[in-house]
Symmetry: C2
Subunit: 430 residues, 2 copies
Amino acid sequence: MKQWNLLSSIEQQQLLARPAQAQSASLQQQVAAIIDAVAQNGDAAVLQYTQQFDCESLRKLRYSAEEIAEQAAKLEPSVRAAIDKAYSTIAAFHQAQKPKDITVETAPGVVCTQRFAPLDAVGLYIPGGTAVLPSTALMLGVPAQIANNPRRVLVSPPDKNGELSPALMYVAQKCGITEVYRCGGAQAIAALALGTESIAPVAKIYGPGNSYVTAAKQQVAQLPGGPAIDMPAGPSELLVIADDSANPSFVAADLLSQAEHGVDSQVILLSPSAKLLQATAEAIEQQLAILPRAATARQALASSALIQTRDLAEAFAISQRYAPEHLSLQFDKADEAVEQVNLAGSVFIGHFTPESGGDYATGTNHVLPTYGFARNYSSLGLLDFYRRFTTQQVSKAGLSELADAIITLAETEGLRAHARAVSIRLEEGS
Amino acid sequence: MKQWNLLSSIEQQQLLARPAQAQSASLQQQVAAIIDAVAQNGDAAVLQYTQQFDCESLRKLRYSAEEIAEQAAKLEPSVRAAIDKAYSTIAAFHQAQKPKDITVETAPGVVCTQRFAPLDAVGLYIPGGTAVLPSTALMLGVPAQIANNPRRVLVSPPDKNGELSPALMYVAQKCGITEVYRCGGAQAIAALALGTESIAPVAKIYGPGNSYVTAAKQQVAQLPGGPAIDMPAGPSELLVIADDSANPSFVAADLLSQAEHGVDSQVILLSPSAKLLQATAEAIEQQLAILPRAATARQALASSALIQTRDLAEAFAISQRYAPEHLSLQFDKADEAVEQVNLAGSVFIGHFTPESGGDYATGTNHVLPTYGFARNYSSLGLLDFYRRFTTQQVSKAGLSELADAIITLAETEGLRAHARAVSIRLEEGS
């Protein structure tokens, strides 16, 4: 436990530093080689890497509609009910985000419209291997379904038997995803970006992944005409601000739920209350004792911090500086503080709003900017599945109205033909 | 003049190919060295490069408020009036794009909100040197003013006398931009991204630039915690679809206004009418004769194409495949065709809507995805000056409602602490 105002500014900086991310040149080169192989050999390369990394006996990348239905049907009813519930809240929240075209007559006879069109084809990457992540499939599949992107393509690495989990296939079915391919890693990203014989390229790639997936997304986004990507990736993190009104068991449970994600997860507790900090530290120890992933959580906690602040205002300022992915506010009337702590991916307000609620079922999207990127990037939302473009229609009278401005500015910028395109219309136009 | 359906698919592909972009390893290395120098030496490095490339005698990067006002006051009244007019239409169109927070009760006792907050600090890059581009300053400065980003930072390379143009400074003043720095190129992008003694870092960088600027934007966006950027860059382009109802002089003037931008600009005319294609080709030659930038336009035209299509429908299909930055529809009832040709940055509808109108004064933004990126990226708009984030507030009853779903999904994903953060609240919570 540290007291913020007793730290030097360098110590403060170190305390809030993110764990360094592996970005080795060798990893970048391996990924570049995989992308190159997929560019050269298409499906054969994707299949070969998938056999090498995931399932030796795999022969076919794509699941047919029947195979999706067959896998989905194996799902336990309790998990199905849980997915149905999460689907309903996520759908409700994202449905409300539907954009509307905006038309303005900016001058008499000059009508401008901002239009929204769903992206033609979206690629949804779901990590796999040992873990099964139906929640991520919901977070990507539900908005794609609501945006009604004509092609919705799900890729995920198969298990050792060459299968994707029933939970994942149930989500795919529910979200109307008909293109499902059994491949993951950099090879799946390359296939989505460049296209192969069986996988047509997509306009944008979404979803989290390991360091290979992350590097591949970055690399393909740099290609001329390459796909857009959702946001930069980083390890998960939680910052909790709490005072004496908080329940230390709840705070500890939230910190641990973030810490169990991975050894590079970061959790920070800020509180003006020494008593709460002490009690939370004790509760963490107690709860760790019964946690299956205690070893992972312990390692993550080692690079994390419990910090005593002068007051809540100082905690707010630290949070704004850190810009956490998840921000939990566990003090009374927390809803009144949101404007002061808006640099976050998602904010969990009050004592009964656990961070894990947002991971699964409150309805918000759990694909969020981390690693300080909450300063620069948005939380994933329905708008990310659309393109915005504009149209304008000008009448002859409207063009007369604008003519002086266009011609003068074009001449100022030395672009005579730009001016001429206006004057010729007013001279000749009938 | 080519007839589309007589071409082989390889010839069709070549006809629509974009000019290759210089992305040499040596340019990338030069840019990396400049970014590194700015990281090491801050203002001194920025000043040194600016002296080297722009103005030997420059001693101070920042313009004071008085200096901005002084420069702005030198502006000719006619240009001032033109800027005022353009400002009014651009402001009207972007003001209408103001986002609203969205709140949904996704389940009883579960309230989720999508919130919009202006980015804290935005960096607006305006190319300079010999050209003067007040229009680009308007396209970036007006939305930043409407979004009310707390820090709005304009950078632009100074002329040989170390000054920015009166037109640019008038726009800065009008858009309430108080931070103006005289620097351009990769060194300006590095300063905006990393910060120096006098320039604090920004969250996102906007605006067009030469190949150094483009490479620098790409590189800084890859840094851990680096700024976001508006969109990938590429040379400007125009695709016109016209039929016999079009005026060949207007079509020619529009094609030339795009071709004069630069030798790598691309212009394409698609028409089912051989007569219009022929007449347009003749009008281009006539108009070239009186064009100051005819040499540039001629070079651009060399890699451009006039293509005869079977009908308008075939032209629409080609346009969708090409995904132009600017799309001009010069046929009767063009407004009814927009849904069929939506893969474009901005669409110019009808005979009296010249493309140059959108460059300056219809009100739409002229920062647009080019090089086929209209498939993946949005036209610049007010939303690009905000971050979206979410909040959620759950009551105890709301948590009971979601508990089964969260706990079941967490257990499915092997994350016991996630489940525990819910169950502990329902067991202990009072």
